[in-house]
Amino acid sequence: MGKDLSPLGEFEQMVLLAVLQAANHADGAYGITVFDELARRSKRLVSRGAVYMTLDRLEKKGLLKSSVTEPLAERGGRSRRCYELTKPARAALRESQRALMNLWAGVEL
């Protein structure tokens, strides 16, 4: 599948950041930890379906790469798929952060 160069959506950015946060967990960044980070830090009602679909889409866009662990008993013999950000993803996040900070500069609400 060709790389999708469309700009990052708000939710996509949040998922990428949640993957970065969840990477600090002992188990790494996978479905559950990413969802937990997102729900805890954004204090939003997040849909699990949306998280899974976004992770899948970001991987297809080449912004995430994944690796699978050994099969685990607590997952019914299934592996975990752990995600990490690719270089373009880090660049896109930095770009987005810079744009936002420029826009916020001098603004008071």
Binding site: I32, G76, R78
Partner: protein, 847 residues
């Protein structure tokens, strides 16, 4: 769990589904969480799909934003959305399943070459022919090819618990005329010699069941327990000569037989015009209309009674095979078709009404759009986009439910209906489903666009209210829906009520704790059969929990068929109908709890049949002894006088609702043990115990089951109709309920201000509830009146299905009306109760 996994894999893909399953397993939450995730992903995929469709070319760009706008706006109208989705889901599932079945029965081409040139014959008596007649036909019409087939019968049983094996005898030209040949193997000419007839061709179904589909089946032996030909002559082991193709359909029978037997006829039979050999299939390219007359003339003035009407007229018809199949199925399918059409109409009206009310609510927005130059076409487009998310969601739900509905329907389908193809969700069904969804969406959108008149749009721009007009529209929609639903509900209650009456009919004996075991002896000798039967009877009697064992010396206790015997009618009633005759022992009466109304039943010493005594049922007593005095009287069987020792009530021995018109004569005739026999066992022994007790190499078990189950079997047709109409009735009631609920909920929503004023002026909560419920009940009453008129006309189509139930039965009509009143009343009450809790200040401020 499996369907859920499959669903998840379908929408999320293999890898993502595995991750999700793992996460749910690890985190917990079980099926509920899995279901929520699958539903969430499905909804998102659908939105993605639709957005991708419209987002591509430039001219569709506007469509995307309109679709998104529609989704957002529908989220603010949850009652409306839920109502429309539910109506489409229920109707779509029933109608699509109905189409899949009808498609598999009527619209599929018969899997035989040129079905158009194949004909069956019909006549008042079934158009059965003797071999001599057949010979005359072949000489008269050499331009056509004719194949003879015998009647279908139960050959024996295979498996544990035993499952009957059906058979059909066919002539050597059968496959050539049909144009369809065995998938493997075939017959040789010598298989049709009278001495042979044991090389059989089996169905694909039996091949898979017995031989597990193994390819080297030709030449193998097939053991069928209790095998006997149609004349009850025991048959030995069979050899497999061939296997029929999987899609083989014998187009003139209720169902494809398990086994085809070669019709082996002794030469002497060819000149015997009195014995009917079977019916024929005729294959001919251009069969002239005069052929039936020529064939009738070929009999030389002595045509068989099977083509003779009561008035002595010869009526032979050649019916194309494609039409012949329909004769069996027309009634049930026509009524199902009609009910399906009414249901679809109901759903379309319902969705159109809800949609129009919603458009009237949006009059302000539409008014502004019109003022900005939007044409009617633009509004239609907008309406379509507004419907689309709901139609898509409802249709997807309906498609998901369709396989389950099809499976449930096929399981209950009458055996009379020949399924040319197993119903499934194939591309034709998908096309129907898509068409139905599109039809609902388009009609709803058109009605809605037309209903929003320029006047109401102008009023919308001014922000003026057109409450009265809206209320009138809503009430009319409710009335029409109730009228249509009443028609279906009347059908449902009449058919269900009729079956209830059938079940309530006294059968004339007790069914509780009675099991039935049908046996077929392998021995041709009467003495050997008798000895074995006594042993088996003793074995069953000794079983723990068995109270009593009765014997019917005839394997057809439940089919109503009986020994053919002639009883001389009395001088003062020469037209007395001939009774059915059942050879039974003394215990038979005790097992079934049949007590003598007059006189007595048999004693154990009479069971062997040496005494010339009989027990008769009340209708036999009335016909043969019209002046009374049946007990002690004499009836002549041919010329043998038999003394009546007792009179019992008439019994429904042929299944519920089936009465032998001439009543029953019970004969103590068990000494001449028949090739087939029925044991009736009272007690708590299980069917497995009974099967073990009668197990013997010399006897085959044809059936073993509780008597009540066996009696219900001939009622498959009425049960299917009850199931069918109940499903339609429930769907119709749900649609009306949802419709009324949606209309009232929307009405409540837009009349918040009015409610606030009423509450502020001191209206009690009860008064506010009554306001809405009263409005709806008036509409329901009008609908019932119109529906009553419609139903009075429509019930004529189901009149033939009703057992002792007049189509105008006031109690059943009242039940149908009450059901609708309850559903509509409850549906109106729920949103009204919510609205009655209105806070006047808040309501006025919101308005």
């Amino acid at each position: 769990m499996k369907p859920l996994n499959w669903w998840l894999r379908s929408v999320a893909g293999e890898d993502l589904a595995r991750d999700i399953l793992g996460d749910v397993e690890e985190r917990g939450g079980g099926l509920a969480r899995l279901f929520a995730i699958a539903a969430d992903i499905t909804a998102r995929r659908v939105i993605e799909l639709v957005a991708a469709t419209f987002n591509g070319p430039h001219r569709f760009g506007r469509g995307v934003s309109e679709f998104r706008h529609a989704v957002r706006s529908l989220r603010r109208a949850p009652w409306y959305s839920a109502a429309v989705v539910l109506v489409i889901a229920v109707t779509g599932a029933l109608a699509t399943a109905g189409f899949a079945i009808v498609d598999g029965v009527l619209f599929k081409r018969l899997p035989i070459p040129n079905p158009e040139s194949l004909y069956a014959t019909t006549g008042p008596g079934g158009a059965a022919l003797s071999l001599a007649d057949l010979d005359a036909w072949r000489r008269e019409a050499p331009e056509v090819r004719i194949a003879l087939y015998g009647r279908d019968f139960v050959l024996g049983a295979i498996g544990a618990p035993p499952k009957p094996v059906t058979a059909l005898t066919v002539e050597s030209s059968f496959f050539d005329v049909l144009g369809e040949h065995p998938a493997a193997g075939g017959w040789r000419l010598e298989d049709f010699q009278p001495a042979s007839r044991t090389r059989v061709i089996i169905s694909d179904r039996l091949w898979r069941r017995v031989f597990g589909g193994r390819p080297d089946v030709i030449g193998r032996t097939l053991e069928i327990a209790g095998a006997a030909d149609h004349l009850r002559r025991p048959m030995g082991t069979f050899e497999i000569a061939g296997v029929l193709p999987a899609d083989f359909v014998f187009p003139v029978n209720r169902s494809t037989p398990d086994v085809l037997l070669p019709m082996a006829v002794p030469a002497a039979k060819f000149s015997d015009r009195n014995s009917s050999a079977g019916r024929v299939l005729i294959r001919g390219g251009n069969v002239p209309a005069s052929l039936p007359q020529r064939l009738t003339a070929a009999f030389g003035g002595a045509a068989p009674t099977s083509i003779q009407s009561d008035t002595g007229k010869f009526e032979l018809a050649l019916v194309p095979i494609t039409r012949y199949l329909m004769l069996w199925q027309r009634d049930t399918l026509t009524s199902a078709f009609a009910a399906c059409a009414v249901l679809m109409l109901l759903a379309i009206i319902n969705v159109a009404a809800l949609s129009t009310l919603r458009a009237q609510q949006q009059a302000h927005e539409l008014g502004i759009r019109r003022a900005l130059g939007a044409t009617k076409m633009d509004l239609l487009r907008l309406a379509l986009f507004d419907e689309a998310p709901l139609v898509i969601a409802g249709s997807i739900l309906s498609l998901a439910a369709t396989p389950w509905v099809i499976a449930a329907a096929v399981e209950r389908l009458s055996e009379r209906i020949v399924l040319i193809k197993t119903p499934s969700v194939d591309w034709r069904v998908m096309l129907f489903w898509l068409g139905l969804a599109a039809l609902i969406a388009v009609i709803a959108a058109v009605v809605r666009t037309l209903a929003v008149s320029p006047k109401s749009v102008a009023a919308g721009v001014r922000g003026a209210r057109t409450s009265t007009r809206r209320a009138a529209f809503g009430n009319a929609a409710v009335a029409v829906q109730v009228a249509l639903a009443f028609t279906i509900t009347i059908g449902g209650t009449l058919i269900a009520g009729s079956l209830w009456k059938l079940w309530q009919e006294p059968v004339g004996y007790s069914l509780a704790h009675v099991s039935l075991v049908e046996l077929s002896h392998q021995s041709a000798e009467t003495a050997a059969r008798r000895a074995l039967m006594l042993t088996l009877l003793d074995r069953v009697r000794e079983l723990p929990g068995v109270d009593e064992v009765g014997l019917v010396n005839n394997g057809e206790f439940l089919t109503g068929a009986s020994r053919s015997m002639f009883f001389e009618p009395p001088a003062d009633n020469k037209g007395a109908r001939q009774p059915g005759v059942w050879p039974v022992d003394a215990a038979f009466f005790r097992v079934l709890g049949i007590e003598a109304v007059e006189g007595r039943t048999f004693t154990d010493s009479e069971s062997s049949g040496e005494q010339p005594v009989i027990v008769i049922s009340e209708s036999v007593a009335a016909a043969f002894f019209p002046k009374g005095g049946a007990v002690g009287g004499v009836m002549k069987k041919f010329s043998t006088p038999l003394r009546v020792v007792g009179v019992v009530r008439d019994a429904q021995v042929g299944g519920l609702g089936y009465k032998i018109p001439g009543g029953q004569v019970y004969l103590p005739d068990t000494a001449k043990t028949d090739q087939r026999a029925t044991l009736l066992v009272r007690g708590r022994a299980t069917i497995d115990d009974l099967l073990r007790a009668v197990a013997s190499e010399k006897v085959g078990v044809m059936r073993a089951m509780p008597l009540a189950d066996a009696l219900a079997r001939p009622n498959r047709d009425p049960l299917f109709r009850v199931w069918l109409f109940s499903a339609f009735t429930i769907a119709a009631l749900s649609i009306v309920g949802v419709g009324v609920f949606g209309i009232v909920a929307m009405s409540v929503g837009r009349r918040t201000g009015e409610l606030g004023i009423r509450a502020a002026l001191g209206a009690t909560r009860e008064a506010l509830v009554a306001l809405f419920v009263r409005e709806q009940l008036i509409a329901v009453a009008i609908g019932l009146a119109i529906g009553g008129g419609l139903a009075a006309w429509a019930v004529k189509f189901i009149k033939t299905y009703l057992f002792k139930t007049p189509p105008t039965d006031p109690r059943l009509w009242a039940i149908a009306a009450l059901l609708l009143l309850i559903v509509a009343g409850t549906a109106a009450l729920i949103p009204s109760l919510g609205a009655s809790r209105v806070d006047p200040l808040r309501a006025l401020r919101e308005d």
